[in-house]
Symmetry: D2
Subunit: 398 residues, 4 copies
Amino acid sequence: MAPKKGLLERLDEGPVIGDGGFVFALEKRGYVKAGPWTPEATVENPDAVRQLHREFLRAGADVMQAFTFYASDDKLANRGNESSKKYTCRGINDAACRLAKEVAEEGDALVAGGLSQTPTYLSGLGKVHTQKEFQKQVDVFVENKVDFLIVEYFEHVEEIEWAIEVCLKMGKAVVASMCIGPEGDLHGVPVGECAVRMAKAGAHVVGINCHFDPFVCLDALRKMKAALDAAGLKVHLISQPLAFHTPDAHKQGFIDLPEFPFALEPRICTRWDMHKYAREAYKLGVRYIGGCCGFEPYHTRALAEELAVERGGLPKASEKHELWSAGLRMHTKPWIRARANRSYWETLKPSSGRPFCASLSQPDDWGVTAGDASLKQKTDATTDEEIAELNQHAVNGP
Amino acid sequence: MAPKKGLLERLDEGPVIGDGGFVFALEKRGYVKAGPWTPEATVENPDAVRQLHREFLRAGADVMQAFTFYASDDKLANRGNESSKKYTCRGINDAACRLAKEVAEEGDALVAGGLSQTPTYLSGLGKVHTQKEFQKQVDVFVENKVDFLIVEYFEHVEEIEWAIEVCLKMGKAVVASMCIGPEGDLHGVPVGECAVRMAKAGAHVVGINCHFDPFVCLDALRKMKAALDAAGLKVHLISQPLAFHTPDAHKQGFIDLPEFPFALEPRICTRWDMHKYAREAYKLGVRYIGGCCGFEPYHTRALAEELAVERGGLPKASEKHELWSAGLRMHTKPWIRARANRSYWETLKPSSGRPFCASLSQPDDWGVTAGDASLKQKTDATTDEEIAELNQHAVNGP
Amino acid sequence: MAPKKGLLERLDEGPVIGDGGFVFALEKRGYVKAGPWTPEATVENPDAVRQLHREFLRAGADVMQAFTFYASDDKLANRGNESSKKYTCRGINDAACRLAKEVAEEGDALVAGGLSQTPTYLSGLGKVHTQKEFQKQVDVFVENKVDFLIVEYFEHVEEIEWAIEVCLKMGKAVVASMCIGPEGDLHGVPVGECAVRMAKAGAHVVGINCHFDPFVCLDALRKMKAALDAAGLKVHLISQPLAFHTPDAHKQGFIDLPEFPFALEPRICTRWDMHKYAREAYKLGVRYIGGCCGFEPYHTRALAEELAVERGGLPKASEKHELWSAGLRMHTKPWIRARANRSYWETLKPSSGRPFCASLSQPDDWGVTAGDASLKQKTDATTDEEIAELNQHAVNGP
Amino acid sequence: MAPKKGLLERLDEGPVIGDGGFVFALEKRGYVKAGPWTPEATVENPDAVRQLHREFLRAGADVMQAFTFYASDDKLANRGNESSKKYTCRGINDAACRLAKEVAEEGDALVAGGLSQTPTYLSGLGKVHTQKEFQKQVDVFVENKVDFLIVEYFEHVEEIEWAIEVCLKMGKAVVASMCIGPEGDLHGVPVGECAVRMAKAGAHVVGINCHFDPFVCLDALRKMKAALDAAGLKVHLISQPLAFHTPDAHKQGFIDLPEFPFALEPRICTRWDMHKYAREAYKLGVRYIGGCCGFEPYHTRALAEELAVERGGLPKASEKHELWSAGLRMHTKPWIRARANRSYWETLKPSSGRPFCASLSQPDDWGVTAGDASLKQKTDATTDEEIAELNQHAVNGP
C-alpha cells in the first residue's frame, strides 16, 4: 500500500474535510458528561467512540482526530474530577489515539492528536507549568505515531503560542486553531493579530474552531486572512465552527448564551446551512473545513457533498442521502416527493415551533479571564455554597 | 436466571420507558435514507443499529423495539426501492430481531417486533392483501420469540384493526398505536373512537406515536382516555411522540410541515421538554412512555430521570449527566456552574438564533388519503416529470 | 334635504362601515387616560374629539358613535374618578351626542348613542340598579335624537339583555355587541347562545366588539351565525374587533395579555390585515363592519376601500391613499415605487424588528368575574397597599 | 409679555423637546399621501395640521416645526405631483408657518421652518440650482419670522452644506440634521466627518433625524460626538429618530426595509422605549431630543416625562397619563391595576402576536444615489411599464 499523503500535501491539492464534535455528540448518546466533558470515554466506552469515528469517516471526514479534548492532566483533576487518578492522562490519550488510528485505517484518513487550553494557564501558573501539561499529551501522540498535531480551543493567543512551541519540537505538521470570533482573544488581542502570531510561532495551518456559528466564524477568518496577507505570511486556513447559530453571542461565544449547554436545540444548523458554509469557506480560501461542537455526521456529510466536485466524489454515507435530497423521490406522500429539489431547501426559512420564545438571547457577560479566582484549577468538587454565591453574582453582577 | 417479567405485568407495576426514534437518528448517522427510511440498515450496518439499541438501553429504555419500521415487503419494493429483492422482507426483519434481542439481553429489556402501515392499504387493495403483508413480518417475529408485538404508525383505524387481528392470533401481547392527533384519523374517525376501536379489536395497550410533539400527543391521549373510560374499557395507554415541536401541524402532523424532513432542527425538543412530558404523561395515567422520530438517547434518559422515583433508580447513562444538570458543577466557567440547578432549566425559553425565521409554519394540506393515485404502491422510481407535476400542484393547488 | 336612511334600511342595502376606537386613539393623542378611559374628553377637549370624528367620517365611516364609552355614572365615580361629580353623567353624554351629531351632518352619517357594561353589574347589585345606570344615559341619547342605540362591550349576556330591554323602550333600533370570543361569555354561556339570547331580547343587530383581533372575532361570529340560523332568527350581524393581533388571548381577550394597554404596538394590524378582515366579514354575511380599540382612521379607510364596489365608491380620505398603495408611484426611490402593487402588500409578512421578543404571550388568567370583591365599584382611589397585594397575587396565584 | 428665549439659550439651559413626525401621523389620519408626502395638507386641511401641532405642544414639545417637509418646488412637481402648480411652494410654506406660529403662541414654543433634500440635488443639477430651491422656502420662513431654521433629512453631507450656507445668510440659528446611521452618508462620508463638516459649515446644532430607530441613531450620534470632540468643535447635538425599531436596516435606513411604508406597525416603539431613548440621549449630551416618522404625541410625552426633573415639570398631556402608568390604578380589572408600576413596563418584552412572521427582515439594497436616472426629478407620472421594469429589477438585481 502506498504511504498516505500528508496533511499539507492534501491541503495544497484541495479541501480536507475535518470531522465533527465528539463531546456534544457523545453527550447526547450518553457517554460524556457536560461540564468536565470526560474524554475518559475512550477508556470506558471505546465502542461508542469508535462508532462515532466510523460515522464521520463514512460522512467524508479526511481526518480522525483522537478524542483528546480537555484530556490534560490538570483538567482531569479539576473540581472533583477523578479521571486523572482513575485512568491517568496517559491512559486516556493512548486509548484515544488507538481508536482514531484503527478507524482511520478503515479508510484513507489521517490521524491527529489534539491539545486544548489548560486550567494551569487559566490559573496563571506560567509557561513552564503549562507546557509541562502539553508535553504529557504530546508524548503519547508521538508514541502513537499520529500524522499531525492540532492545538485547538484556545481563548488566549499567548497560551496557543506555548502549545505550538511544544508541538513543533516533535517534527510534525501543526494546526493551530483558536476559539475566538471577530472581536479577538479574551485578553483583547485582535483576531488578525492572533493569526499572525500563530503563523509566526510556526503553525502550518491557522484558524478558528468552536464558540461561534459557521458564518460568524468565517467573518473572523476573513480578518485573519487579511492580516496574514498584509504580513506576507503563507499558511493554510482551518475553520471548524459550531453547528449552532450564534448571531447573538458576544466575545466569549456560545458558552455565554443562556442556552449553553442544555437548551441549544433550536439553534442547531441544518444540513443546508452547512452547504452554504462549505461553499463560503472554500471561496474564502479555507482548505481545512470541518466542524466542532454540534456537528453530527450528517453535517460533515453536507460539507463533503457541497464540495463533491472539488473532492472528486461523494462520501460513502451519501448512498443514504443523495445530493440535494434526491432520496425524497421515494417518499410515499406526494408533497414530500415534491421537495426533492435544491431550491426548496436552499430558500426555506425553518420555523422553530416555539412561539413563546424569542429569536435572540442576551448572553451572560462575566468578563473574567486568566488569573481570575473563579477560573482557577481546583481539585475539590464545587460546594452548594459556591453555587449559591455564583447565582447571587448572576443576579446582582460582580 | 429468573424469566423476564412480561410487558403487561410491568405496566401494572409502573412506568415502562420506550426507546426512541431509529430512522431519524440513523439518518443523521448516515445509515438510513430519508424517504424510503431503509430498514435494511439491519443487514447492511448491523454495528450501527446495535450501537443505537445499546444507547437507548443505557438511557433507560425497557423495550428494545426491533428496527422493522416500514419493513413490509410492499414498502421495500415501492418507487424504485430494491431492498425487497436484494435483502428480502424476511432477511431484514430477522436481522432486526436478532440485534434487538442481543442488546436486550445485555440488560433486562423486552424485545418487540413492530408493524406499520402499508402501501397495500393506501393503494386500496383491501383486507386480504394488507393482512398478507403483515403476516410475512409477524411470522419472523414469532420465530424470533419476541416478547410482544407493536402495531404503530397507522393513519387509519381500519388498517390497524386488521393488523391487531393478525397479531392476536400469535398469542402475544399487542400494543396498538396510531400516528394521529386530536383531530382523529385521516378518514375522519375521531381520536376517542379510534382508541375504543383498537381496544375492542383486542389490543392490550393503545395510544399514539409519531406525527405530533409530546404535548399535542397528550392532548389527543386525553381524548382517548375519556372515550375509553366512557366505554368502560380498561387497557393501558402508550405515548411515543416526536421530539419536535409541532404546535402548527394540522391533521397529518409533521409530515406536512415545510421543514419535514430536512430542516426540523429548530423544532427539536430539549431534555427539559422531555421531563415535562414524562411527568404529564404519567399523571394522565400513561404507563408506556417512550418516543419516536427525533428522540435521541438523551431524550429517553430524560424520561427515565424524571420518573426515577417511580422506576426505582436512575439509568446507567445518568452517570454522565446527573439529575437536573448537576454535572455542570464541574464546568470551568463560573456562570455555567451557576446553571447547575433545576429552576434555571425549567424556566428557560430557548432562543433560535434565527431572527429571519418565523416561529410557526403553514403546513401543506393536500388532504389525499387511502386510494388516491398519488399514494399508491408503485415499483418504478419517481421520474423528473412526476416531480415537476407535483411542484406544479404545490403551487396551484389540486 | 331628504331624510337620512335609517340603520336597518342601510344594512339591508349593503355594508355599513362603523367607526374606530376612540379611547385608544385619544389616549395616544393625549386626551384620554388609560384605566378610567375618561369620556369627559367630550367636555374637556371637544376639538380633539370632533377632529377624530371627522377623520373617521372622511375615512368612510357611516356611523358617528357618540363617545359615551364607560360614561355611566357609577363608572365615572369608581376608584378615585371625580368625573361624575365634576362633569356629571348627563354633561358628558350630552356633549358627546352633540359632537357626533355636528360631524355626522357634515356627511351622511348616522349618530349612535352607546351603553357599555357597568360596575354596578360587576358589583352584583342586580337588575334594578343596573338598569337605572343605563336609563340615565339613554335619556340623554333620546333628548339628542340619536339615530339608533348601541349596547356594546358586555362580558355577560345577562347584563346586555337588561341593557337591550332599557333601549327597546325608546323605540330606536338597537345594536347589541358583546366583547367575547369563541369561548363565550365570562359566566360560561356559549357564544352562539349569547347571540340567540340577544336576538330574542329584541336586538335588531347582534355581534361582537373589542377584546379580540378581527380574525378571532370572525371565528366567534361564525358560531353566532350558526346558532342564529339554527334557531331560525333573522337579525343583522355586527363586528367591531380590535386592531391588535391576539391569537394568544384567552377567554378575557386582550385585557389579559401582558402588553395591555401600554405595549400593544407590535400587535397593531396593518391596513392590509383590514382588507382581509373586511372581505371575510362581508363574505360571512356581516353587514355592520367596523372596529374598536386600536382602529385608527386609516384602518377604517381600508375597510371602506376593500368594500368600495359594494359601497359604490371610495371614501374622501382615499384621495390621500389610492387603492392598494398606488400613491407610492410618486415616491423618489425606485424600489418603493416598485411596491405600488397589491400582491406585494397582500403577501408580505411584516417583521417586528424585535429579535429579543417572542411572538406570543402567556395571558394573565385571574378568572374573576361579576361579584368578585376585586371587581366591585369603589369610590376611593386605589392605595399602595392594594397594589402591593395585587402584585403578590400576580406572583403567587390566588 | 417677556420675549421668548431663543433656541440656543434653551439648549444651554437644558433639554429642548422636539415634536414628532407629521407625515406618518397625518397619513394615518387621512390627510397626507405616502409617496409624495403631500405637505399641501397645510392648505387643504389646516384644521388637521393645527390639531396635530396642538397635540405635540400638549405632549411637551418646545418646538413647533412648520410642516414644510418635502415642500420644495421641484419636489412638488415630481412624478405627477400637481401641488406646485395648484398651491405653489410659497402658498404651502406660508400656510405651514402660520399654523405652527398660531399653536406655538398657545404655549411657549419656538417656531422652526424646515428644509429637506431636493430632487434637484439627486438629479445632479449642481449647487446653484439646488440652493435656488432652498432659497424659495427660506424666503417664506423669514417673512414669517420663524425663530430658527432646521435643515434636515439629508442623505448627502454635500447637499446639507449648501443648505446651511443658504440659511446662515438669514441670520437665524441653524439646526442641521442628516438622515444617516453609523455607516455614514450615501456617498460614503463617515458619520463623524459629516458632523464635523456640518459644524464647520456653520450649523449651530448638528445631528441626526429619521431613517433609524432611537438606539441606532444614538450609536451614530456617539460617533458624531467623538469626531466633534476630536476636532475641538463645540456645537449642540440633535436627535430626532424614527419611532420604529430598525436593527436590521442597512445604510439607507427604514426606506429599504420591506415593511416601508405600509406595514411598519409591528416595529412601532412603545412609550417605554422612548423613556429609555430620552435618558440615553440626555446622558450622551444631546440636548435637542425629539422624534421623526412614527412619533405620535404619546411618544413625545414619554420624552418629556422621562426628563421631567430636568425640564422642571410634566407636560399638560401627562394629566391623562401620570408617570409610569399610575393611571392604571383606576382600572376595573385587578391584574391591570397591578401593572401600575415602573418595573413592570421597563422589563416587559412585548410579543408581536404574529407567529408566522420573523423578527428581522432583509432590506432592499439597490445602492443607487445622486445622479442615478431612477432618482431624477421627473414631472410625468410613473407609468405601468416603469413599475413593471422596477419589479423586474427587484427580482433579478440590477
